[in-house]
Symmetry: C2
Subunit: 167 residues, 2 copies
Amino acid sequence: MAYTETEIDQFMQAAIDEANQARIIGEVPIGAVIVHNGEIIGRGHNIREHAQDATLHAEILAIQEACMVAKSWRLEETAIFITLEPCPMCAGAIINSRIPNVYFGASDPKAGVTGTLMNLLTDTRFNHQAQVTGGIRETECAALLQTFFKAIRAKRRLKKKNASNLK
Amino acid sequence: MAYTETEIDQFMQAAIDEANQARIIGEVPIGAVIVHNGEIIGRGHNIREHAQDATLHAEILAIQEACMVAKSWRLEETAIFITLEPCPMCAGAIINSRIPNVYFGASDPKAGVTGTLMNLLTDTRFNHQAQVTGGIRETECAALLQTFFKAIRAKRRLKKKNASNLK
């Protein structure tokens, strides 16, 4: 299913809303939604720190919910919208669940494997490939992360300063 | 922590036991365990079909249990024992959970990314690398899968034959 620019924008907004849910609870702000026939059937945001579980990235949670809603591990004819380029685990979960369309916002120079470090989703040695479109509302998606990490660094500096003042 | 050959054999047996749990319920027989300080802290076997969830591979379930037991998403100083070479999703989960030692049984020519199609766990562009040892009790691990798929093919042939007899 092909989406219009307005629809792509709208579904990425839903992923950004998810990322904001992560930000509010102090998690790295990354969000994802899965769309089938124009409807969101799975949502997720990163909860690694709260759950203390390395597997609970936004995409995994969105895929798990979508599988539950679809009553199938095969998410054919769906699209996933993610604020950040997927890591190997999440790209692998996209392969395993047969999601054919991937839209992401910001690129990830550290772990992005759908175009940046490599492209696992166009590698024909795996039994599934996906169409990948990056850079959707890139500035907003990247700003979410930049603001989050800037605040963390400022907090750390303040803590260090207060600690040295107490000496 | 370095393991003796006997220990490696014993932990792979626990992974094989998990694979057999999958086999008994009709799932592709793949199992995994995670070991910390000589004790198993996470176990998992493939339940993709029963759960209709593409993410529920043996390794993901073992990692989730180990994170819960360790009360941490960081599984440093652990080892994972898996009957089959990990796929991209599971290799990615190993990176994300910082597991330093990976032992697997059979190689996977279709999706194995810790030596066969590529090696995601020695790629220094990611923020974690792992020591990978393949071929542990390889014949038994491979036989589990071969027997499983042979039985499925035989069942399919019988079904086809019965259907044509009814015509």
